[in-house]
Symmetry: C2
Subunit: 217 residues, 2 copies
């Protein structure tokens, strides 16, 4: 069955790979699955046709036969559950890989999203300059805890898994602020993710589309 995902017609990051379709592309590349991409404009994302796929009017979505999914965590898990390469066979290790997916999305990413909100939605507010350090410190707090847990391991729980795929993807969003590089071990962890052939293919695929069009924001 053909897999079709959606992605930004023009990614706001101009091809840095931070749009969430890159996470799904990465999972599809790790599992060697062919896929098609339907590009959606910012306007079309908010229209009823797209909202039938994604009630919150975002990308990516995932279609495969009669199944339509949104939410990157769910899409990556769906792929990981059905194809080898992203989840360990051992039941306990598998539960921990899923745990790291949720930790990436529900514990580590929220303060990072808060920084994006602070910059892009409240950047013109009178409190922007004074509030930004507080927001950044909340990210540092979480990254410090993550760094302690990672220790000198290559991946969060033994072999690379969907948990690392999601954590690396989330951490990549802290690079432009300089915060990632304050944690050399986490920066090296992210670099290990980026060095994977599957990530490189996913990154190149989104870059091919987004580098040719000027960034929208």
């Amino acid at each position: 069955m053909t897999i079709t995902i959606t992605a930004f017609e023009r990614s706001p990051d101009g091809g840095k790979g931070l749009a969430r379709d890159t996470r799904v592309r990465w999972a599809l590349e790790e599992t060697d699955l062919p896929y098609e991409v339907r590009f959606v404009s910012f306007g079309a994302m908010k229209e009823p046709a797209h909202r039938r796929l994604h009630p919150f009017g975002q990308i990516p979505t995932y279609e495969e036969g009669d199944l339509a999914l949104f939410e990157t965590g769910a899409i990556v898990f769906h792929i990981a559950e059905r194809h080898a390469g992203l989840l360990p066979d051992n039941a306990d290790a598998r539960a921990r890989a899923v745990m790291w997916m949720f930790a990436a999305l529900n514990t580590v990413e929220p303060p990072i999203l808060d920084l994006q909100t602070a910059k892009f939605m409240e950047g013109d507010k009178p409190w922007a300059a004074e509030r930004l350090p507080l927001v950044k410190d909340r990210i540092r707090h979480r990254l410090r805890e993550l760094s302690v847990r990672l220790g000198d391991a290559d991946w969060l729980d033994g072999a690379f898994s969907a948990g690392d795929l999601m954590m690396v993807s989330v951490l990549l969003r802290t690079r432009s602020s300089g915060i990632l590089d304050e944690f050399p071990d986490l920066a090296a962890y992210v670099a290990r993710g980026e060095a994977r052939p599957a990530y490189k293919r996913a990154f190149a695929a989104q870059l091919a589309i987004n580098a040719s069009t000027p960034p929208a924001g």
Copy 2:
């Protein structure tokens, strides 16, 4: 094998059921699993012994034999995957239930957490009063989209699932601000969740502990 979870020694909400152990208790009650609770003080949560279970120093955690998990989404999924009552049998419907778990935690909850941060961590800042309406509007934006998708259905995708358990739990956090009641269909959806016998047992169990001790914050 005995299941042991951790919970606040004194929940900051004084027993309103908003601490995340209630979500796990609810899942355990829906699947009729007995469990034990170990209570952890705010100080002990940040100590190495607890951080070995939860690197971010929070509750709940879940222990079952050699398996130790943190992150509510992962714990509820682990329970749901192994015991009847929280995930449909049909593979596509199951993938959608997981999708709603991630949507609750990664799309709906972040702006709600932002309101808690605004109130409790930035409530004394000079921008607090002016910023609060922006934060609340971002919650309303998401709840409006969720309300459209729910329509006049009882649950998000047919029968009650772990996706509803998580979404109801997240939405409960918007009640005290008055925002939930601005969406009567979502308020009714939450009430349907609260009316489930398993939820009532979970709520009563946490209340029995927290009502007897004064709230810590």
